[in-house]
């Protein structure tokens, strides 16, 4: 029998029992749609949380920890594949103080390489990069951390510096190893202001200086503190460095950070966090798919019943077909095709319905939740409740059509076992 004839044969039988087949398809649709919508919540939450994680940070950043970091290592890191920039920032390990007039603050000074910083998206809001040893850039919140401890405003808080910054000079002092400020001062000139951090809650009060400042600062420090006997006792060192490696693309973060780990570095990147997150959500999604599969299994009872009835009703016809010379395998295939048809139509409808439910719930649920929680709680977080990726469609379709065919299997086997003589004896 040609395939198209098989199709039209099955089609005729389905048409003859429209109502019964419709109800069975409906059950299959509901089961499959339930699975898809349920699992889509897992995918939606995963996407939401992932989006949060990615938006809070420079995603291509890899923090590298090493007991001793120096220029040679940094140069080696820069040569690695897919590394866009290596920012070697040196922090000061002791007390420090900046002051303009009566305003003082403990803003930390950082020595860095501005060329690499710019490659890693460091931008100025105003001014220019330092050109001399005593020129610095300050973070956008620098002034807010300079306070006048003799002057309170009406709320009882100290007033903060609100004068101009670019071109201003300020006094910068470091502390000794006991935390006492060293009296020798450095006069630093502000030549630029860094861009505001992307997130509202992030503050940048730091002072950025070029490496050319190091000799002067070390001179001040080591006239008061003994120089460390060997380079390993970092307790008395003035500077300690940390390195951030920036990958060119998020996809390459993982490769770079594994390579670094293999070379003995301690590394932290977003991919570590995402890995954990992905494992958690994989388990969640699997659980949801499992629960959804139970709904499909329940709907499969309907398919089993429908097909068993179809076989029983058509016993005589099957007997005639076998008498004429139809291959038992053909008869089995015709019934399997019928149950597969139910599964396929149910699945297609379920996919369409699920996308509809998903779109509507993504539109309606945030409105409801926002109303319930109040605007602020929800404000800047974009929550996706339901996402249906093609993988979910494939998984759900496979389960649904597979279960439909399995439940049609026994009735189809029963059809092939029908005894011709008994079937022909049946009355019309």
């Amino acid at each position: 029998m040609q395939f198209r004839d098989q199709i039209s044969f099955v089609g005729q039988h389905i048409k003859k029992n429209k109502m019964r087949v419709f109800m069975t398809v409906l059950a299959a649709t509901m089961g499959t749609a339930f699975l898809i919508v349920l699992a889509s919540v897992g995918f939606g939450l995963h996407e939401t949380i992932r989006g949060e994680v990615l938006s809070n940070r420079l995603v291509t950043q890899i923090e590298v920890f090493s007991s001793e970091m120096h220029e040679e290592k940094v140069a080696e890191l820069k040569k690695r594949d897919h590394v866009k920039a290596v920012v070697f920032r040196q922090n000061i390990g002791t007390e420090q103080q900046s002051s303009i007039g009566n305003f003082t603050g403990n803003n930390p000074l950082i020595v860095t390489d501005f060329i690499e910083e710019e490659k890693a998206n460091f931008e100025l809001q105003e001014g220019r990069l330092p050109e001399k040893a005593n020129e610095v850039i300050v973070g956008s919140n620098f002034a807010e951390y300079l306070m006048n401890q003799q002057d309170e405003n009406k709320d009882g808080e100290f007033t903060t510096y609100d004068g101009k910054l670019i071109g201003e000079q300020f006094i910068y002092q470091v502390g000794d190893n006991e935390g006492e400020l060293i009296e020798d001062e450095m006069m630093l000139t502000i030549v630029g202001i860094g861009k505001k951090p992307a997130k509202d809650w992030e503050q940048d009060q730091k002072i950025y200086a070029d490496a050319s400042i190091i000799p002067e600062l070390e001179k001040i420090y080591y006239t008061h503190v003994d120089k460390p006997a060997d380079d390993h006792s970092d307790a008395q060192q003035l500077f300690y460095g940390n390195v951030n490696v920036y990958a060119d693309k998020l996809e390459n973060v993982k490769a770079i950070s594994t390579a670094l780990k293999d070379d003995g570095y301690s590394v932290y990147s977003i991919s570590d966090e995402l890995d954990q997150l992905d494992v958690f959500f994989l388990a969640l999604k699997a659980g949801l798919v499992f629960v959804g599969t139970i709904a499909i299994l329940i709907s499969s009872i309907g398919i089993f019943n429908t097909m068993t009835m179809a076989v029983t009703e058509r016993t005589r016809e099957i007997g005639v077909m076998k008498a004429i010379g139809a291959d038992p395998k053909l008869i089995q295939r015709l019934f399997l095709m019928e149950s597969a048809w139910i599964g396929i139509v149910g699945t297609v409808l379920a996919v369409v319905i699920s996308y509809g439910v998903s779109i509507v719930s993504n539109y309606v649920l945030p409105i409801i939740v926002t109303a319930a929680l109040g605007e602020e709680d929800f404000g800047d977080m974009t929550v996706t409740f339901s996402v249906i990726p093609w993988q979910l469609v494939v998984i759900a379709s496979t389960i649904s059509i597979g279960v439909a065919m399995i439940s049609g299997w026994r009735p189809a086997r029963k059809a092939t076992k029908i005894d011709v003589i008994n079937a022909l004896r049946q009355e019309l």
């Binding site: 029998m1 039988h13 016809e317 005639v320 004429i324 010379g325 291959d327 011709v420 003589i421 019309l428």
Partner: protein
Amino acid sequence: MISVRNLNHSFKIGKKGKEKRVPVLKGLTFDVPEGEIVSIIGKSGSGKSTLLHIMAGFLTPESGEISVQGIQTSSFNEVESAKFRLDHFGFVFQNFQLMPGLTAFENVELPLTLKGISKSERQKKVKDLMQSVGLTDVQDHYPNELSGGQQQRVSIARALITDPPIIFADEPTGSLDSETEQDVLLLIQSLNKTRGITFVIITHDDEVAQTADRVYRMHDGILTEGGVQHAI
């Protein structure tokens, strides 16, 4: 054409544990020559249908051998037997056994569809045959819209459509009145003459048996040849 050798069959009857074997066919040996109409006549319950079922491959005999056109058919499995039927046999039943969901035309078409013949070829063959057995007027009727005689014509057409060398008919006129019975018997005779098809007709009616070239009588599971007869 068909040769049956020492065929035995018995049925198990009774409840489990207390089954009895009831012999139905006892060592039958006979031949159905090519191109003849052979009838098997016997009382109800004498085992005629059982014999036909075994010859057609619906039932595996207990012992004995059957060959059709020199091919040993008694050792076939279910699939081989089905394939052989599709290519070599046509069937006509007492209660017609048409597919209720198919029109007369589609019922006749069914064996060709099963054989995997293309739609256009099927349409042409069925149309020609419907014309030659006088069914063109009712070709779009469903079986429940046809008279008994028309239904039996459709079922004969269905048996003929694959051009089988042999057609088995179990009480082909059993459900028909005597006038329609004559029509059907004449159709069988003319098909036998014009197409050379071998018929095996089972009946309990002497009049029907008279139309055959050869008559076998079935009695108590034993078959005796009733001689070659010639109808007028």
